[in-house]
Amino acid sequence: MNKLSLVLSFLLLSISTVTTAQTAKEIAYLVYNKQSPSNGESDMTMTLINKKGHERVRVLHQYFIDLEAVEKQLMFFKSPADVKNTAFMNWTYNEEEDKNDDQWLYLPALKKVKRISNSNKDNDFMGSDFTYEDMEKRSPERDSHTLVASEMFNGEAVWVLEAIPLAEEQYSKKVAWVSKEKLTPLKVEFYDEDEELLKTLFIKDIENMEGFWIVIDQEMVNHQNKHATKIGLENIVINSGVLPSKFTQREMQKGL
């Protein structure tokens, strides 16, 4: 499974005829099980917006591959200039492996690969408002689900699905507005451990490419520290034939 689904969100337009009434858990499984591409690449623009509204823009090129037990991602900075060719690699293990992500950062000025040892899923992804977990798929077995409503949202039929983790985790609750057609959330609210609204994810643009629904533009807004992060994709190539041998420390050092 491609767990970095939100980074690329390659979603399959399958099971298009969801007509019968669904239980909350069934819907969660529909979203979880939908097909996604096994490899690909794209340019990514990450815009970090601070509480004063100041924007910092990073442009990267990313590769990904889904190897069932592990999903690997490699990113190279294109700008800002002083971090150009800095490379970031992330390995996410399948939930059954019960293993934290492995992460490395190659600093060209130091000519060394540094391990980011604190690869907790609660941590922010590249200093953004997304945590690693926000970008990964999550087994419906870990939450209890409630179907709150079935309604229209931005002109699309959606389910409003509430998920409460069975164990104590970083969020106390998530509420998602899931498109019935695309089986993709259009909006997600994240509540903190004190059950206060922490963040909202807005999916701003979804395109259908080669049968997959792909999130092109999304924005995460943190209500507590007033930050926001926008992630936009361009030049997307699905199943571009990236090989597993691309995802090594040696490749990181080579640069783009």
Partner: protein, 768 residues
């Protein structure tokens, strides 16, 4: 004037009703529009370059003063009970209405611990769940000790105390908030844990609340005492009541107008009644004193005649004193600070109102209630006073050399004292030494880096400048020098601390890497690594996103102007070096703004004192048509000012806003005494054509009123020395002192100079 008085007396009922209605109207205006302005920010001149810059920097780096809560556990903080309290209080404060961002609360629970591990970087809190084993606590203690950015900043060297910093929303401090935080913090006391609450917002906020409160409590006492002393010296209940009415009504009308115009009461304006009482009561005293003397002399005059005579003879001196005093205050309009301009304008207005009430209310009221039953008919007593003052006049003339010499000695002595005067903008210094805020602040300053902050803002046109190794090395040198050269500086934090820390932990914690790397790209990549490893927004409090602006935050252990200035001076030494690298250096933050603010007040005050001298000389020269007299009239002001500042210098009392403002009272009082005295001297000189007789009569008439005035105000304001607040104590002491010295200076040295100068006798034709 006679005509005017005649009209007033004829229509006295109408006049009184009009005054009553006017007073009621103004009371209504006060009640409707009452507004106190205690927020210091509104006092700052927004358009002043230093403030514009500081405000910009404060917004950029989120510079706000923090409320500090210290936990002190004599058995050491590394235990589950205290850690639970740190965590719980941190979370409780994060939920307060005035905290709009959870990141605004910094404690051991929320602080970033930057460290290296597995040849990588790790940034995470020191703890999330309460540790259970001693080993875990030992590890945390070790992490704190080896973290240069946290050790001594958040945890004291003896490991018995820890701090929680809270930044509250701008301008949100209130008495209720202080109570709320105090109650919340104190609820964690117990199990051997002591709790202290300190910080600049609390000190400033509490002062803004408590000082006017203290004044409100003390002021009725001042009024009461003045009233009692008035009865004693005027020996008339009626006269005392009317005198008090003049002063109180002029205060009411002044506040009524000010608030009616939508201008709130700023701290300096709260001194207006004080000024009006000290100055305004003089008009009434002089008039009643004159009336009493005339009643004695002209026993056959009718009430109307006596009142008309009083108004006519006292018209010129009262008008002159009021106009000069008002103009003296108006010179404060040159100040940069708006609340001071209001203070100046409305005190001037009040002085004129006091004059009008003296001319209108006194005759009208006397017509209604009858002349004061002058117990002065008791001849022997009054003659004693008159005889004594005449004796004094003669003996002063006989020993004029002694008066001259002693005046010069006094001036030299206090003139030297003036050179020792220092300015203090400290807020804390204004509280009584045993106030909990003072002791708490001292505790925090003893155990941590300091409660006062100065920000040094470095700025360049070139983005990315603060990734340059040369610039960062210079910043590092500056930070090290400032801390080592000033014993009052506890520490500092800036971008270099982040970079040095990362360089060290990414190089196996080797001490030799606790330095700035040479490669700018490496610095940039470290910073990226910091962000990617979960580093918090704290970075953006020391550098901006374009890396062309940096903030060096210096922590001081006290807020007095001496140590602030010493710190600024050691920073200044680096200005040229930064300039060479294309970096501009400026200051920001509340500590700096208060310093600049006080400097502005004092500069304005000193400038206004100089203007006042000039204005007084010019006005009095015009009024008396003699430059000589204009100059002589400034003698009491001059001596009063020198002694006033000299006493501050010798007693090591720092000059601060209240003390400085109050010095303008020297002008008001000095002029009053001098003008009354000179005017009377002129009248007596023209009447008797005999110098000795003239000085004797002047001393008996004017000297009497001046001494009454001095006694009343000195005793009244001495009450303020019982206040808890040092500026209020200073206020009472200075007013009393100024009254006293003006009085002595007028009847001794000015009197002698007047005598020796032979005005009104050499060319009497020209003086009239």
């Amino acid at each position: 004037m006679k005509k005017f008085t005649h009209i007033v007396l004829k229509n006295y009922r109408l006049v009184l009703v009009f005054i009553l209605l006017g007073t009621l109207g103004n009371l209504y205006s006060i009640k409707q529009n009452f507004a106190l302005e205690t927020d210091l920010e509104t006092y700052m001149p927004k358009s002043h370059p230093a403030f514009i810059f500081s405000d910009k920097a404060e917004a950029q780096f989120d510079i706000r003063d923090a409320i500090l809560i210290a936990f002190n556990d004599p058995s050491g903080i590394y235990n589950p009970t205290t850690f639970k309290k740190i965590k719980d209080l941190t979370k409780a404060i994060q939920k307060l209405e005035v905290v709009d961002n959870k990141d605004d609360v910094l404690s051991l629970y929320t602080a970033d611990n930057i460290r290296g591990e597995d040849s990588g970087l790790e940034i995470e809190p020191f703890f999330k769940r309460i540790p259970k084993t001693d080993l875990q606590f030992k590890q945390i203690a070790e992490n704190v000790r080896s973290n240069e950015m946290v050790y001594r900043r958040l945890v004291s060297e003896d490991e018995k105390s820890t701090l929680i910093f809270t930044k509250i929303k701008d301008n949100s401090f209130s008495e209720e908030l202080y109570e709320e935080i105090l109650t919340l913090a104190n609820s964690y006391e117990g199990d051997g844990l002591e709790v202290y609450v300190a910080g600049q917002p609390i000190v400033e906020g509490t002062m803004a609340i408590l000082m006017p409160k203290d004044m409100k409590k003390m002021f009725p006492l001042v009024l009461l005492l003045i009233f009692v002393v008035l009865i004693l010296v005027l020996k008339s209940f009626k006269a005392s009541v009317i005198s008090m009415m003049v002063v109180i009504l002029s205060s009411i009308w002044t506040f009524g107008l000010m608030l009616g115009l939508g201008i709130p009461i700023y701290a300096p304006s709260s001194l207006i009644p004080v000024m009006l009482i000290a100055i305004g009561v003089a008009d009434a005293i002089h008039m009643f004193s004159h009336l009493q003397l005339q009643t004695k002399v002209h026993r056959n005059w009718t009430k109307t005649q006596l009142i008309e005579n009083m108004n006519t003879e006292m018209f010129s001196p009262v008008l002159m004193t009021s106009v000069t005093t008002a103009v003296g205050f108006l010179s404060l309009l040159s100040s940069d600070i708006i609340p001071i301009k209001y203070f100046a304008a409305f005190t001037a207005f009040g002085v004129i109102m006091a004059m009008l009430f003296s001319f209108i209310l006194i005759p009208a009221a006397l017509n209604l209630v009858g002349l004061p039953k002058s117990k002065l008919s008791n001849k022997s007593k009054s003659n004693t006073f008159s005889d004594k003052s005449k004796l004094l006049a003669v003996s002063l003339v006989a020993h004029k050399k002694i008066v001259f010499v002693s005046t010069i000695l006094v001036l030299l002595f206090f003139g030297f004292g003036m050179s020792k005067v220092w300015i203090n903008s400290s807020f804390l210094a204004r509280f009584p030494d045993n106030n909990p805020l003072v002791t708490t602040d001292a505790f925090v300053n003893d155990h941590f880096l300091g409660t006062t902050t100065i920000n040094v803002i470095l700025e360049s046109e070139e983005s990315g400048k603060f990734k340059n190794a040369d610039v960062l090395n210079l910043l590092d040198d500056l930070a090290i020098d400032v801390v080592s050269q000033n014993e009052n500086v506890g520490g500092s934090i800036s971008l270099v601390d982040f970079i040095k820390r990362m360089n060290k932990v990414l190089n196996e914690d080797r001490e030799e890497f606790y330095a700035i790397p040479d490669d700018s790209d490496l610095i940039a990549q470290y910073l990226l690594l910091y962000e990617m490893s979960g580093g918090s927004d704290k970075l953006w409090e020391v550098v901006n996103e374009d890396f062309n602006m940096a903030n060096l935050q210096i922590q001081l252990k006290n807020d007095n102007s001496k140590s602030l200035n010493a710190t600024l001076n050691s920073v200044e030494l680096y200005r040229a070096k930064f300039k060479d690298l294309g970096v501009n250096l400026n200051f920001a933050g509340s500590g700096y703004k208060v310093l600049v603010f006080n400097d502005l007040i004092l500069q304005g005050q000193i400038r206004s004192l100089l203007y006042s001298f000039l204005i007084v000389v010019v006005l009095l020269t015009l009024m008396f048509r003699s430059i000589k007299l204009g100059l002589i009239a400034t003698i009491p002001i001059f001596i009063t000012t020198v002694i006033s500042f000299g006493v501050l210098g010798w007693l090591n009392i720092p000059l601060e806003t209240t003390t400085a403002l109050i010095s303008s009272i020297a002008i008001g009082i000095g002029i009053d005494y001098a003008v009354h005295f000179i005017d009377r001297y002129k009248i007596e000189a023209l009447k008797h054509k005999n110098k000795t007789l003239a000085i004797q009569e002047t001393m008996a008439h004017s000297g009497r009123a001046i001494s009454f005035n001095a006694i009343v105000v000195v005793i009244g304001f001495l009450v303020l020395t019982l206040s808890a607040f040092k500026p209020n104590i200073a206020l009472g002491a200075i007013i009393s002192l100024n009254m006293f010295t003006s009085f002595i200076a007028t009847i001794s040295i000015m009197f002698i100079v007047l005598y020796v100068s032979n005005v009104f006798f050499n060319k009497p034709s020209k003086t009239k």
